[in-house]
């Protein structure tokens, strides 16, 4: 098992999305991100692959603050029911300074053209503006395609931008 650092970026200015073009040559990809948006309240963080924004995804995301639990999903059951995967929530823009949604996303067999592309993620963040409420998130999803993944992108939904200081790192994972 080995990890190879492939890419890392840290925003120095707000951007509406962060996209990473990835090479082949590894079994899986591991994406580590620390992301914050510019929306006053929490925002959704969505992920797409290969720039595909058609109805080609499904996903489910569970989150809890320790007191209450909630589940969100792409839509009704089906292989292709959504135009992206919601991989977590970003903290409100007024929350503690330098506070980001941190997550690790595992992209299985991203370069294997014989399998549908599957993902799982786990993350957490401090969500409150004035007092701490920490939320953890975990979920999974898939892109209903066997095409090789060549790029991964992250976008806010309600807000316009991901703010400076947000980072995305991509690692290639090799089984042996």
């Amino acid at each position: 098992m080995a990890f190879t650092a492939l890419a890392w970026t840290k925003l120095t200015s707000s951007q509406s999305s962060i996209s990473v073009n990835v090479p082949g040559g590894y079994q899986d990809l591991i994406v580590k991100c620390a992301i914050r948006g510019d929306r006053a309240s929490e925002d959704y963080l969505i992920m797409r692959v290969n720039g595909v924004s058609s109805t080609a995804y499904n996903w489910a995301n569970s989150y809890t603050d320790g007191a209450s639990n909630a589940v969100a999903a792409g839509a009704a059951s089906g292989l292709s029911v959504d135009t992206s995967m919601r991989v977590g929530h970003t903290p409100p823009s007024g929350s503690a300074a330098n506070n980001f949604y941190v997550a690790r996303i595992h992209c299985y067999s991203y370069a294997d053209s014989s399998v549908t592309k599957s993902f799982r993620w786990i993350g957490g963040y401090e969500n409150a503006v004035t007092s701490g409420t920490v939320k953890t998130q975990h979920g999974g999803g898939f892109w209903n395609s066997t095409s090789t993944i060549t790029s991964i992108s992250f976008h806010p939904v309600y807000g316009s931008n991901l703010v400076a200081g947000s980072t995305v790192a991509v690692y290639g994972y090799t089984h042996a």
Binding site: T9, Q15, V20, N21, A72, H155, S160, V168
Partner: protein, 78 residues
């Protein structure tokens, strides 16, 4: 519709970062994503409230010793 936004792309093979303005199509996609998210949020809220109401009704009926509906019973079984 916000002003013209930019996006960053990082090429992992070359480590070159590129920042470009969004195309009209990408700007339209952002609007579509927002509209869809609002619909999803409203549905999630409604589902959550409906479930909470069902659970409260089940609890009240249990205390009163009256029969529960199948939907109410489902809220008590993990």
């Amino acid at each position: 519709m916000p002003g013209r936004l930019t996006k960053i792309t990082l090429d992992a093979s070359t480590n070159v970062e590129t920042i470009v303005e969004l195309t009209d199509e990408e700007m339209a996609q952002i609007e579509q994503d927002r509209i869809k998210a609002i619909e999803e949020y409203e549905k999630e809220q409604a589902d959550r409230e409906a479930y909470a109401a069902l659970k409260a009704s089940a609890k009240a009926k249990l205390i009163a010793g009256t029969p529960l509906t199948a939907e109410e019973a489902d809220t008590l079984i993990i």
